[in-house]
Structure formats: C-alpha cells, structure tokens
C-alpha cells in the first residue's frame, strides 16, 4: 500500500496536435478503452481521444455499474464472456483498482416457463466457458439473499433464481480514470473540452475533423459517442442508422450498512428492476427506459414510480430507505438490442455504437475489438456479425426476441 504519495496528474492535459494516426471521437469508457488497447495491443501511439466535455461525463458515470456475461445468442456470448475475462484482471492490467466485485448476479425466477427459458441460456453459458452459471432453488436463494419478498403477499412469488457468480459490479468512474491513465502513459493524447464541429470528407475518406480546438487530421477515425452517434454520423455526411436514442434513469439511495451482497434482477409482469449496493452503502438501482425517444439527460416521474414499485416488490424492507438521487443517461438503442462495432461506408471511419443497456459491462471487450478493427481494418471473428449490414442479411442478434423496436430491448 503505497497510498497517496507521489501521484501527480493521472493523465496529461495536452494541446491537440494537427495530426494523429488515429483519432477516437468520444472520451467515454469505450473511446478511452479503444485508445488504450490500440496502444497496448497494436503499438499505435500517435492517438488522440477527443472529448466534448470531461472524460467519463456521459453514460460512463450514469450507469448502475453491473458487469455480467449472461448473454446466450451467438456473437454476444463470446463477446461478453471475453469482456468478463478482461474485467477479472482489469485492475492489475491498469494498475488501478476498478473495484470489480464478483459478488454474483441473481435473476429471480417466478414460474416454470421462465426457469426453462433461463436454463437454456445458462446451459449455453456452462458449455461456453461459464462454470459459474447456476440455477438455484428457493432454499438456496433464501440462504444467500434473505431479505427478498418470500412472503405470501408477493404478487409474483419467487420460485428460484438463475445465478451468474462471476458477475458483479465495478466502480464506474475508476474504470474511466484507469483507462485514461493507462492510455496516457502510453502516449495517447486525451483532449478534453474539444467538441467535434465537423467531419470533412473527400469521397469515401475522412480528411479532417473540425473541432472547437482547431482542425485535426487523422489516418483513421473511430466514433464512440453513445448518445450522440446519429449526430456525428450525420456530420460525416452519412444517412440513417439502426439506432434510436432513449433515456434510461438510474437511482441511488442514502448510504446504508451492508444490506444486499449481490446484484439482484427482477423481470415479471412487464416490470424490470435491478439493484445492488455500492461499497459506500447506497442502494444502486434502475429499471426500464422512459419509453419515449429522448436526448434529454433528465427523467420523468412515471418511471421513478415504476422503479420504486418494483423495488418494494423485491425488497419490501426498502420502504423507509430514502432515495438520494436520480439521474438519467441517453442510451443508443439498436434495432435488435445488440451493438455495432463496424466498418462504415467511409473507408477510414469506424463505428462503435448502439450499446442499449450493455455498454458498461462491454467496455474492455468493446475497446479490445474496436481497436483490433481499427488497427487491422477487418473485424475479428468474434465481432464478425456486429456490423451495420447484419439486418440486410437477415441476422438479428435479439436476446429478448423483442423485434425491431428499439425501446423494447431494455
């Protein structure tokens, strides 16, 4: 424990250079992680990350910090499991404690049909690297999570749970700073307060990026701007995207002594709810989208109420616990609930977008594979189907089977 001594700026505050080999637009988690892996895995050092405000000011700091890999559709499965493996050593890799706590992710189950449906997914997990996927009966669940509503007045009585033991939570801001520091140490210029105002193209090539801090030219450009994807896409002279931006709220309670040791997820009767307790003691929770498209980082009351109802349904002891703060972020919902790490119609422009609810947990894999795509100009096998053209081929990576309605992929 070397403590606090000898720490100076965790990343530099450089003036932008006029040219970079790679410019990543967006200083959120995915942009920073991409820069980090471009430098670390591909030896590219002349990189800039351009951030309109302050790094990590978007969804990086607005999520409920859950990390899990219990996706079962081909494409998602390998991707999120790779991500989880990277999470497991991320603190050591970055030499920065991102406080990844593998405290288990517990999905409550309420009827035999749900048990079967989840078992299918967890069986897939078991056979693709997750020995930590389990189905629990009621007794095992009660012993592990004693304060859930097991009583006779539960609207949807709990039957058991699907448990993903290596999943958990991490400290979101630390991940931002850890990647920023790591990238910076390898020479990446992290340029804050640098808003992209224009993307100049000549034919199928980006020639320059106009910014509030001057014109920058780049060999390759990566977009990782959740919540602003369509705006930047338009700026690059491109048309539509299979994305609709929605608003997702998140909630934290006053700090409490330890009450809940796992991540608990509930989905039944049209409700959706997830909760965990931060190391500081706040109950961190969330639920559905606000159900209408929005770029506003402010939520409305109906969902606040819905989420509180679900909270009380799952943990009735929260009645006198007080909500401390609620906020919202803009999530780019895609047409099948799965993201894009894709080449684009422009040769040296690459897209990382459409993360739905999944952006935080995806960070290390997103950075790794996006860096790989940018460096090699061809998608890695794992992200072969994470391209923008998949719907033309008839491929929808739809974990929920909800169909091409972005708001249904929460």
């Amino acid at each position: 424990m070397t403590g606090q001594k000898g720490w100076t700026r965790q990343w530099r505050d450089p003036e932008p250079k006029s040219h970079y080999d790679v410019v990543i637009i967006g200083g959120g988690l995915h942009g920073l992680a991409t820069a980090y892996y471009l430098a670390k895995n591909h030896g590219i050092r002349n990189i800039a990350v351009l951030e309109k405000g302050w790094i990590g000011g978007g969804n990086a700091g607005r999520n409920t910090t859950i990390v899990r890999s219990n996706y079962a559709q081909p494409g998602n499965r390998e991707f999120y499991e790779d991500s989880l493996k990277l999470w497991e050593n991320l603190s050591h890799d970055l030499n920065y404690n991102v406080m990844f706590s593998q405290r288990s992710h517990i999905t409550l189950l309420h009827n035999p049909g749900a048990v079967d449906a989840v078992s299918r997914n967890y069986n897939v997990m078991r056979r693709t690297g997750n020995s930590d996927a389990e189905i629990w009966g009621l007794d095992q669940l009660k012993a592990a999570v004693p304060h859930l509503n097991y009583g006779p007045n539960a609207r949807f009585p709990i039957m058991g749970a699907a448990v993903h033991k290596r999943a958990g939570t991490a400290r979101h801001d630390a991940v931002v700073w850890g990647y920023a520091r790591g990238a910076d140490q390898m020479g990446v210029d992290i340029i804050q307060n640098c808003e992209v105002t224009g993307i100049s193209r000549e034919g199928s090539k980006v020639t320059a990026i106009e910014t509030s801090r001057g014109k920058i030219t780049a060999g390759k450009v990566g977009l990782a701007v959740a919540g602003s994807t369509s705006r930047l896409w338009t700026m690059a002279g491109l048309g539509c995207l299979p994305i609709e931006s929605h608003k997702l709220q998140a909630f934290v309670s006053e700090p409490l002594k330890p009450l809940l040791d796992q991540v608990v997820v509930f989905g039944m009767g049209g409700a959706h709810f997830y909760i965990s307790q931060s190391d500081k003691g706040g109950m961190v929770f969330g639920g559905d989208l606000d159900w209408y498209k929005s770029y506003a980082q402010k939520g409305n009351l109906p969902i606040v109420q819905d989420v509180a109802e679900a909270a009380m349904s799952v943990l009735p002891c929260l009645g006198r616990v007080r909500l401390l703060r609620h906020w919202s972020g803009v999530v780019d919902m895609s047409m099948d609930g799965t993201h894009f790490i894709s080449k684009t119609p422009v040769d040296n422009l690459y897209l990382n977008a459409g993360w739905n609810y999944g952006g935080f947990k995806a960070t290390p894999a997103s950075g790794t594979y996006f860096a790989d795509l940018i460096a090699n100009d061809r998608p890695h096998r794992v992200i072969a189907n994470h391209d923008l053209k998949r719907f033309e081929r008839g491929l929808q990576i739809d974990e929920r089977g909800a169909g091409p309605d972005p708001k249904l992929h929460g």
Partner: protein, 990 residues
C-alpha cells in the same frame, strides 16, 4: 457548548411537554421542538459520527442542510436510518438513536481504531487493495473482494430494517394554476398575489409551520404580519400544504411533492398513510426556496459546538434554546450581526469576529449597545477542544495567506461564510446557475419554462425585498410585467472567504463534513488532474452525501478555483439532481406494493375455477388455472389425469384470457388477408381459420383463429400474452399505414367468457346443453365451423369447432356475466360422464403431443418455417413480413426447426431449456434446444418439443443428447416429427 432552554420566548409550547428517547435514555422537550432543538436544550452535544473518520459530530444547522446530527429514528420494522434531527418534529414517544458508531456516538471505538479511516483520503481506493499482481494467486479479484468486505462494513451510515415496511403510502394527483414552493416572505406574497387574481394556487412548505425565516425573528411585529398573510391566503382559497417537500421539478410544470402525514404523530390513525407522494401539474411555478448559510473551512470546523450563525438564531428565537453561554461568531457579512445582538440579549457573552475591517458605524454602534464585542480583520483558523469546542484560534490576513492570531475561549463557535440561494429545483430543469461575484453566490439563471424564482433564492437578503420579489415573481409567472428590487441588501459588502489555513499546513478542515471531504482532498484532486467539477465530485465524493452538497459545494468550487488559479465561474457548478431532500422509496411506490404491485387479471370464470379446486399460475398479468388437483394428487398426478381424461372422455378448460378482437367493416377480409400469412380473403361465413401473423421483420409475432361471423364481421383470437401487442399493431396499421381500409377493430377480450371443451364425448355434452341439440351435430357444425348458439336457460353465445388438443373440440364464448351459468351448465353434463376440468399444465401436455407451438416456441426469434408452419405462408399474396422474411440468413436450411423429442430410454425424463447436441459434444451452443416437455399420457412416456438445426429429418437415426448441466445432466434422446400423437388428425375430425 452549554446550551440551555430559556424560560420564555420562542414558538414552543411550554405547557405541552413531550417525552422522547435518545439512545435508550428518556428526555423531555416541548411541543414545537425539533429533535435537534430538544436534544440541544437537554445538553446533548455529540449526536453523530462521521462517514469515514468516525469523528464526533453535533448540530451544525437548523435545517435540511444538516450534516452532523444524522440519526436513526424508530425501531424494528419502522426503523428509519439517516434522518436529520434538525428536520424531525418532536412528538411523544419519538425514539431516536445514534448511528455509524459502536457502542454509541459519544464513545465510538471506530474513532479510536481509525479503522481504514486514515487511508481514506480522496481516491485512495483506486490506488490500492488490488492484490499483488506479480504472483498468479494475486491476480483476479479475490484479494480486493476480501478488502471490500471490510470496507463495506465500515462504510454506509445507518442500518436499514430487514423487515417489510408496515406502513402505507398514498399517491395523489393534483392540478393548479400556480405552485408556490416555500413560505417565507417571498412565497407567502407570491401565493397571495396570484390567489387574489383568482388563480388556483398550491403553497408548499417543507416545515411544519408557514413562514420560513419569519419564524426565526424576535420582533413581535413580524409575527403579526405573518399571521395576517396566512389569514389572507386562507380567505383567498390558497391550498396550503405544510410538512411537504417539493423534491423535484419535471417536464411541463410537473412537480413531485412528498407530504409527511404521520411522521410527527404518536399514534397515527390506522387509516392514515405515513406519507403521500403528490404529482402536481402546475401552469406556473414560483420557487421561493430561500438561501442556506455557508460555513468556512478551517481546522476542526466539524467539532460539535461549531454551527452556522443563522442556526443559532433559529434555536434561540424559534425554539427558546440559548445554544451557548460564551459565543464567538465569525463572519464575513452583515447577516450575522442580528444573531449576535439577540444572543447577547438572551444572556450570552458574544464576540463577533469579522474578516472585514470596514464594518459600518451603525452596525458597530448597535453591537456596542447590545454588549457585543467586535473584532475585525480576523477569521477562524482552528476550533479548539476535544469532543466539543472550547475555543477558537483566529488568524489574520498576511499577504496572500493567513497568519495565526489570538485565541478566544468559547463554548459555541458560530460561522457565517455567506449565503447560497437554493437553486436546486431550477437546476432540475437544466438551468445552470451563474456566479455573482458581488454577492459571492450562485444565482438562478432564467429558465425557458414558466418557473420563476423569488426571495433570498434570487439573492435578496432583506425581508422586505423578499416580499416585493415574491409579488413580482407571481406577476411574471402570470405573464405580467413587474419590477424586482435590487439584489443584495447588506450595508457593507461581503468579503468572501472559503478556507483559512496556514501555508503548508496539513489539517482536517472539512468542505463536506458529512462525507468527510477535506480541503486537502480537493487539492489532491487538483494535483491529480481531477479539475472539472464532475471529476472533483466523483473523485472526492464532495456533494454526494445525504445533503447533496448543500453545505459544501461552493467551498469546494472555490478551493478548486484557487488551486487552478481561476475564478469560480471558470470551474463551473455541478448540476443538482432530484430529489431536493431524500424521500422514502415506499412513498414513491405508494399502494402499488405486495399483491397490488401489478394489475392482476382474472377471467370471468376465476371464482368458479377456484370453487372447483383450481391451483392458479401467472401467465403474464393473468391468473389462470394451472391444474385441478384432487385429494392427495401432486401437480404431476393431476395434469396427467386431466390430459388422460380429455383423450378418453372430455375436459373443460378456461380460455377466457385469449385475446379477442372484433374486426368489422367492408374491408375486414382484405385487412386480415394482409395481416395473416395465409389466405383469409375467401374464408366462408360460418368458418374459422387458424392464422399466423408476422412482424414487419418477418419473424412470427402471434397466432390464433379468426372466425367469420358474417360478411363483414370477424372475431380474431390471439394468444393471452400477445393480445395487447397485436391490438396495438393492428390499430397502428389501420390508422397510420392503411387509412384507406374501411375497417373498425375493437378489443372484446373482456366481453367474452370462453372455454375449450375437448374429448371424444364433447359433442354429447354440448348438445345436452343446447336449446337445440342439433346445432352441434357433425353436419351442422363441421370441423372449423362457427355458429351463433343459445344454451339452455337462454344464454346466447358463439361456438367454433376448433381443436388445440387434437381431440374433437369446441370453443364456446358467452358474454362474461354469463360465464358462471355456462360453466354450471357444462359441468352438470360433464361431471356425470367422468369428464374433468383441466388447467394449463394439461393443456400443455395435449398440445405438445400434437406439436402445436406456443410462446415457448414462438420466442420472437423464429420464422414461420422454423416453426414448421411454412406451408401457411402464402406464395400468392403479400402480407406483413412477407418481404423481410426472404432475407438470406432466414432462408438457410440449417436453421433450427421445430421437432419432437423422445427420450431414448422411455423411462427417462428431461427438461425444457436443455440443449440438444451431438452425442459426446460437450462444448459450444449445441445443435438446438428443448422448448417444452411433458409426460405424454397418450404415448406413455416423456416427450418434448424443441428446435434443432435442419429439422427432424436431418437427425433420423442419429444419437442426440439433451444436456442440462445447470439442473439435471444428460439424457439421450431421439429426434422425431413434432406431430407425435395422431399425426393425421383423425380424432379431431371425427
């Protein structure tokens, strides 16, 4: 601090003693006290322990910004952690205790040990506790998670109940022309102005009394004025809500309010909710939310006995408590002088220490008259004393810094570092406050919505100006012009000071005392590059405690500005998020908890089913019969008996929850023809047809039968869970895409009670129930025939000869209110024949035997071909989804297709959710999966449905394993046609 209750004065009622307990001991206060004032009057000084360092904390304020006296209220299942003692009204029987301390807040072992505290400067976590990466065993998260356990125990504040909250909460909705938040001089006048112009006004006050700062005055004339204003408001019809916090402003003038109904009542009525959550939609909003006094950062500025100057005045004038005998009051502005003279008048020795050297002669004269000593050019450097304050070391300006000066003894150290207008609610609307250097505070920015601020919340420091600004704000909110008084109102300008320390010294001076964020933490954040406001907040946790930065944000910004060599506006301000003060999650949920959490949908036959032994299960929001167990039967016994009875005799099943949509109009058949994949244009009157609907993307959306009742009148049925979605989609099609079609649709799901009756003896039973038994003869009602019928007793209804079970079967619908008589009638003929009632489990068994798909198979990811129903996709017409289903991935021959599954060893069972894979293949996604399984009474062994790549023909004679590692393990299976029983359908055509 040696506080004492005065014998007279204040707003408390000395004739009404109130008994309460604190940390198990009994105390007395008076009606009108808060928990804080009563404890102060009783001489209690240490009421809390800080978050990280476990430092002793006392009362620091008299309001919502309290950061010291954070306590736990109540006991058992009514325990309420993290309550601010300054906001809790005293009542008989109130029980409160200290928290975050052991054994108690006065003597906390945690403080002695320091626990992790000494490490807990900002950002410390991120730099350590990771383990020892050079060694393999140190990798991963194991070592961190050990540390985490200890950290979690040390962190947190109060302890929440583990029991369900026994109280109830209400939701209330309201509308008004104008919502006025805050009832100080500005709020009262704003409300009155609007009400006198005939506006419907709601006035909201978080306190239990109206008046805001008027309650803290000693001048009796102020009280008279207050009473008159309230009278006027009442006669003008203003809806007044006290004990109510406006916690958030949302879109379109919507405000969230929390009303505390019984939190101050000893024995609340059983009928009263504890709190009410109000959603108010206001045409205009006036925010007269006041201002909060700031402290100054200096060493040990968190000692019990250090509080804001205005708080002392509140305790004195409102609660009749003299908070100290020997008081030093440090200020940099005029506001504290009135406190000083009133405290002196009440008998305390008071010394004012003012940073300013240009204090006005009037002010100084008044102090002399009041017997208050004034020292100028000085600031507090360090609070002296151990658990409570015993003196203060002062400092004077020296160059650009400070130099130590004299020491004064005191038992109460009051601080006024200036005032911060409460701009939080406006900030919820996205309006960024702007720094005013003259007043040394953030002032509200204008807002594009009809939200107007008034009073000290806009930087008016004098009551008369606040009143005038309230009137002006109301006028502006009503669209009139109005003149606002000039801002400020102090004779001598404030001289901003945020932190006092000697050069190079490292001390604990607190910016955000509740989260133990020190000035050094802010500087460390700067040193490490966390210079933006949001980074500062996240790195140090400044402003994230339960007061949400009300106390410390401005000081934090000032320190960062200093470290950066910039001024405060260049650093920025954090955006305040709702709620303004923390609110109970129970209140937000209201009555929608327990069994009322989500609407429970019951069929018209619900009670009848229960009376006849049904065990119910959830199907979406519906409760449907699962099985009808007889004495001693398990669920398996019951459903196997039920399914067997259906195949041998007959059974009745409640299908009322199926979606039913009336489709009517001259273009109805054309509409259906576009919606369904198969042909509907030529469906004959009196006939039903099974249809599949796709989504736009070509995937199966829903299925069901549609009955042609007459030329232009169809009845469509949908699945139970798909009903809502199908209805919405059909409405969208008719209203947005095909407005030219003359079709009207209407959901009639709730209008009909429906049963499916299946089994070889069905026709006899139904015939016996008909007024005209011939109606259902094989000739009159052939397979897929539909008829209007009249049951005995004159019950009119509809019948269709359709089968989901593969047996001779009918669906009968009668108006919902006739559901029970219909059941009585049918059952009277069924029971004597040995027929049964059957539930979803038997329904499942029967349909799996037949290979009929339901939700488990139609999971939103399958095509009509995958489901084995490709023949139903017309090639002669276009329909919804007909184009996109032709995309290449959807036409691949190796897509998983619907199959039947038998266990190789017929005595074995297997599970839905098992994966189908080649024998011996232990990794990967496998070749398919099992969607459903059942014991088949007809075949005498377990069977299943599922999907496997290429369909059953590709797997004939090949060995396949159903693997279910999360539950059961491996079972060897055979892949067969999904039509496992009576594949030619001879039984249902009989």
């Amino acid at each position: 601090m040696s506080a004492s209750r005065l014998t007279k004065g204040g707003r408390i009622d000395r004739s009404r003693k109130v008994t309460f307990s604190w940390d198990g001991k009994t105390f007395e206060g008076f009606a009108g006290d808060t928990l804080a004032s009563a404890l102060m009057a009783s001489g209690e000084q240490v009421l809390g322990r800080s978050f990280k360092y476990h430092r002793p904390r006392g009362i620091m304020s008299a309001g919502v910004e309290e950061s010291g006296a954070i306590v736990t209220l109540g006991k058992g299942d009514r325990v309420e952690p993290n309550a601010k003692a300054t906001m809790q009204e005293l009542f008989d029987g109130l029980s409160a205790s200290g928290q975050n301390a052991w054994p108690n807040v006065r003597c906390d072992v945690g403080a002695v040990l320091g626990l992790f505290g000494r490490f807990f400067s900002a950002g410390f976590y991120y730099k350590t506790f990771m383990g020892l990466p050079p060694f393999e065993w140190g990798r991963g998260t194991g070592i961190w998670m050990q540390y985490e356990k200890l950290i979690r125990k040390a962190a947190g504040m109060g302890e929440a109940s583990r029991e369900a909250d026994p109280d109830s909460y209400d939701h209330v909705h309201a509308f008004c022309d104008m919502l006025v938040v805050g009832s100080g001089p500005a709020g009262l006048n704003a409300a009155l102005t609007a009400a006198q112009q005939g506006k419907d006004v709601i006035l909201v006050e978080q306190d239990f009394e109206l008046g805001g700062d008027l309650l803290n005055q000693s001048d009796p004339a102020v009280e008279t004025q207050r009473a008159e204003l309230i009278d006027a408001l009442q006669s003008a019809g203003v809806r007044i809500m006290t004990r109510t916090t406006t916690f958030g402003l949302y879109d379109y003038g919507t405000a969230g309010l929390l009303e505390r109904v019984t939190d101050h009542v000893t024995a609340p009525s059983q009928d009263a909710p504890r709190q009410r959550f109000w959603t108010v939609r206001a045409g205009a909003t006036v925010l007269a939310t006041g201002a909060l006094e700031r402290t100054i950062a200096f060493t040990n500025n968190d000692r019990p006995g250090v509080m804001t100057a205005a708080a002392a005045r509140t305790y004195l004038n409102r609660y009749g408590v003299l908070p100290g005998q020997n008081i030093v009051l440090c200020t940099n502005n005029d506001s504290a002088y009135v406190s000083a003279s009133e405290l002196a008048a009440a008998g305390a020795k008071v010394t004012v220490v003012d940073l300013r050297t240009d204090v006005g002669a009037d002010q100084l004269g008044a102090m002399q008259t009041a017997g208050v000593a004034v020292k100028t050019g000085l600031v507090p450097l360090k609070a002296l004393g151990g658990k409570t304050v015993s003196g203060v070391q002062l400092a004077r300006e020296a160059g650009t810094g400070w130099a130590a000066a004299e020491t004064l003894s005191c038992d109460l150290l009051l601080v006024s570092g200036g005032w911060s207008p409460v701009v939080n609610l406006l900030s919820h609307r996205g309006a960024k406050p702007a720094w005013d250097a003259d007043l040394a505070c953030f002032l509200p920015a204008s807002c594009s919505e009809n939200v107007v601020m008034a009073g000290s919340a806009t930087g008016h420091w004098q009551a008369a100006d606040c009143a005038a600004s309230g009137i002006a704000a109301a006028k502006v909110a009503m669209g009139e012009d109005a003149q606002t008084p000039t801002l400020g109102g102090w004779d001598t300008p404030i001289k901003p000071v945020y932190e006092v320390r000697l050069p190079g010294s490292k001390t604990k001076s607190f910016v955000d005392p509740q989260h133990d964020v020190t000035c050094d933490d802010v500087r460390l954040a700067h040193q490490e590059g966390f210079v933006s406001v949001e980074h500062l907040k996240r790195y140090t946790t400044l402003g994230m405690a339960t007061d949400q930065g009300k106390m410390g944000n401005v000081i934090g910004l000032a320190l960062m500005a200093e470290a950066m060599g910039k001024d405060i506006p260049a650093v920025g301000t954090t955006r305040f998020r709702p709620p303004y003060t923390p609110i109970a999650i129970g209140a937000l949920a209201g009555r929608n908890v327990g069994t009322h959490f989500k609407v429970m949908r019951r069929t018209p036959l619900h009670d009848w089913n229960l009376r006849h032994g049904a065990t119910m299960t959830d199907a979406g929001l519906w409760h449907r019969p699962w099985y009808f167990a007889r004495k001693g039967e398990t669920i398996n016994d019951a459903y196997i008996r039920e399914a067997t009875t259906v195949r041998e005799t007959l059974g009745i099943c409640d299908v009322s929850s199926l979606g039913k949509i009336a489709v009517q109009g001259p273009d109805a058949s054309e509409f259906l023809n576009r919606v369904y994949t198969n042909a509907f244009a030529k469906l004959a009157v009196g006939k039903a047809r099974y249809g599949i609907m796709l989504r736009d993307d070509g995937m199966v959306m829903d299925d069901g039968t549609t009955w042609r009742l007459s030329e232009n009148d169809f009845l469509m049925t949908t699945t139970t869970t798909g009903a809502g979605r199908v209805m919405v989609f059909l409405e969208e099609l008719l209203q947005t895409r095909w407005p030219d079609l003359k079709v009207h649709i209407c959901s009639v799901s709730d209008q009909w009670a429906g049963v499916s009756i299946a089994g070889p003896q069905t026709r006899d039973v139904i015939a016996a129930c008909m007024e005209d038994p011939d109606t259902v003869s094989a000739d009159n009602l052939p397979f897929m025939g539909v008829k209007k019928i009249r049951l005995k007793g004159g019950i009119d209804g509809l019948i269709a000869r359709i089968s989901f079970s593969g047996e001779l079967a009918y669906e009968i619908y009668v108006p919902s209110d006739y559901g029970e008589p219909m059941m009585d009638l049918l059952w009277s003929e069924t029971e004597p024949r040995g027929g049964c009632l059957y539930g979803l489990e038997a329904l499942g068994a029967l349909r799996i035997e037949k290979g009929h798909v339901t939700g488990a198979e139609l999971d939103g990811r399958v095509t009509i071909d995958d489901a084995g129903l490709g023949k139903m996709a017309s090639t002669k017409k276009s329909f919804i989804g007909s184009t996109l289903r032709q995309r290449p991935e959807l036409l691949r021959e190796d897509r998983p297709q619907l199959v039947g599954i038998f266990p190789k060893d017929r005595s074995q069972t297997f599970n839905g959710g098992a994966l189908l894979c080649k024998h011996g293949d232990n990794i990967g996604f496998g070749e398919g999966w099992v969607t459903a399984c059942t014991h088949s009474p007809a075949l005498g062994h377990w069977i299943g449905l599922g999907y496997i790549a290429g369909g059953h023909e590709a797997w004939q004679g090949k060995s396949v394993t159903a693997t279910d590692p999360v539950r059961q393990g491996d079972v060897e299976v055979e892949i067969v046609s999904p039509h496992m029983f009576d594949p030619k359908g001879e039984r249902m055509h009989g």
